[in-house]
Symmetry: C2
Subunit: 405 residues, 2 copies
């Protein structure tokens, strides 16, 4: 571990820490609006940088190149998303709670920025703009560590924001390793990416980490379910966008209704092009189904594939989800309010739904305005993280000379 | 690392995890009340176990033995504290936020237990009872890892609670090391103790940790301060109970008022038996003061010793605190509301006070009812942690068949 790298990481993080303190006194909405203007002004430069990244990626698959590519339209959408973040209400300074104590002390809990946020991601360059806007709007300095494939594009975008408050970090694992030790400078690390990246971060970090792990989402069709509704929800949850974390990965059907429900659900899902991987009890009821492998349960397919199992009532469903779920999103279809309530209470997931598609666990859909990701960590933020989740609350106490007796 | 130890840790934590799921359906208030009754019924057994621990500690200092010792009166106080925790409102199920989306989905954010809490502590046996009561009342299973000096007493107390839901963990560093890896079973670790314990935990843990570090608390006396108030607050903050984390460790006096203020503050503090360790500018103004050593700033004395410095206005005070504070508790004395507001906004600490003693950063004093500790971590909980801070919020969504378009 080189001393030079250690020093580089320290200086980077220390600059961010100083910038975070200065942000407390600046107009953070205006800073984001200004950055959006700069993005549009520098459109040609950003698109040029993107061409350089694209040239290096020419032997990659088409989907990869599509994610990486920017054009005029995507750039305008990026600036528009930044302006939407600027327009959101300021979470900083919000008084969450306020009361007086018998001795006259006036106590408030007030939202404050976390300080310095280290964001690790691998996806599209617009994440750079959105994460920077979300951090800045909530008063946090951002260290952005995107993937090497988008380095030139990300640099050009990050340079549109105030320097020090938004810094792009070179995609070097040894440097990341050093940054993850700096718990005096960095208040939060958000890793978004594959399980191996998140494991790397979780194993090494001495800074607090909010993990954004995969979604192994289940839909439990209870014995009394409206089957038309169940089919509609299953098809939407699985097939509308199979590659995302709130897509359905496993269908659980109650044993009491399976003979009627499964053929109907299976027909609808197969009609949407979904391959059905069935456990022993489901297989005979699913025309065209294939036997599930051992590891198909608990698996995030991110594809038009679905695990299917028959379960023994609500207890069977809860046991299955406790064993195979990833605490992301779980849904039940039933007409029975009491049964639904038990599911909603006892399933441990960042978002639990009754008679609705798993696809709704999303910052935009839940009304947060924008999100920096969906946390599967239970501490601090559980579920979609918006501006509010990038703050903490502090106690602010006003007195007139009170001392403790 | 022995396979047997790994397995023992896994089984322990897995039992806690299963118990936590069962707690969701039990009357948690009643469980705590029942445990309080059992503590009283088993008084003789607990005091007998305490005699065994005391016999082993006979060569320890008197203060150590006093902390370890239980008697009838302390036991009754312990049971009373448990009943107070039982009487607190249930945080679980609290609807924090509730709204409808344009598509008719009804969204709630609802409090749920974290799951399994691993508490590490070294202090008095009553912490065992209080931590167990707080965890149980908030629906969490507790793994309690107290110090070896109190092992027999802690075992007897922990056995008054439902087994599996409250387990005492043997004080063995290798076992702790294994437990800290079990991020699938353990949702939160709270280490309370010396910096070396907390560092050990922070370095090894793969489970989320909320740190309860030391308090290096400052009082800034502004140029316009009411000096009678400032003296009263300084003496209370430093001398009322010097050994605790919200005690004052450093006095900052504005350069514009120092010639008048310092002699007066110093006289009051010396009158309370406080040794004053002064920087170069403070020393000539403090009769009987001694020169501060380099490391007296940023130091948690936990004793009748106080670092004293002259600072250049609010900016000097903010710089000093940013450099030497520990994010615990910071206070300002001033008549100027604008100046106070700047201090309250820009100082980063779990509790910031205006015209009040630092001693008020305490769960009981701030009205939380009871506390499991004071967090200096910014994520999840910042400041005193009560029942609410032992929960997370989840999204609960109710629909009538909505799918995403």
């Amino acid at each position: 571990m080189s001393a030079e790298l250690k020093l580089a990481a320290f200086e980077l993080a220390e600059r961010a820490k100083v910038a975070a303190r200065q942000l407390l006194r600046r107009d953070r909405r205006q800073l984001v609006l200004d950055a959006a203007d700069v993005v549009e002004k520098r459109a040609a430069g950003i698109l040029g940088a993107n061409q350089v990244d694209l040239a290096h990626a020419s032997d990659q698959p088409a989907a990869f190149i599509d994610r990486l590519r920017l054009d005029e339209k995507r750039l305008r959408a990026m600036a528009a998303a930044m302006r939407e973040v600027a327009a959101l209400p300021d979470p900083v300074g919000e008084v969450v709670e306020s009361y007086a104590r018998p001795n006259g002390l006036r106590v408030e809990r007030v939202r404050a920025p976390l300080g310095v946020v280290l964001m690790i991601y691998e996806s599209r360059p617009n994440v750079t703009a959105e994460a920077a806007a979300l951090c800045l709007r909530s008063g946090n300095a951002a260290l952005l560590r995107g993937g090497s494939e988008a380095l030139q594009t990300n640099s050009a975008i990050a340079a549109c924001f105030p320097e020090d408050a938004v810094q792009l970090v070179s995609p070097d694992r040894a440097l990341l390793d050093e940054l993850l030790q700096l718990h005096e400078q960095i208040d939060l690390c958000i890793p978004r990416g594959g399980p191996s990246l998140i494991r790397f971060v979780a194993e090494r970090a001495r800074v607090p980490v909010i993990k954004h792990y995969q979604g192994v989402c289940h839909l439990y069709v209870a014995a009394d379910a409206d089957l038309a509704m169940a089919s509609r929800i299953a098809v939407n949850a699985k097939a509308q966008r199979p590659g995302v974390c709130n897509a359905l990965e496993c269908l659980l059907v109650d044993v009491g209704r399976a003979p009627e429900a499964l053929p109907r659900l299976a027909a609808a899902l197969r009609g949407a092009g979904v391959e059905l991987r069935c456990d022993e009890r489901a297989l005979p009821l699913v025309a065209g189904g294939v036997p599930a492998m051992e590891d198909d349960f608990g698996r995030e397919f991110l594809d038009l594939k679905l695990a299917v199992a028959v379960v023994d009532g609500i207890d069977g469903a809860l046991r299955h989800i406790a064993r195979y779920g990833s605490r992301h999103t779980e849904s039940i279809v039933t007409r029975d309010a009491q049964l639904a309530q038990r599911f909603l209470n006892e399933v441990d997931a960042s978002c639990v739904l009754w008679n609705a598609s798993t696809r709704f666990n999303d910052g935009g859909e839940l009304g947060l305005g924008a999100e920096i990701g969906i946390s599967t960590s239970k501490l601090h933020a559980y579920g979609p993280m918006g501006l509010r989740e990038l703050t903490c609350t502090r106690y602010v106490v006003r007195g007139d000379g009170q001392v403790r007796t």
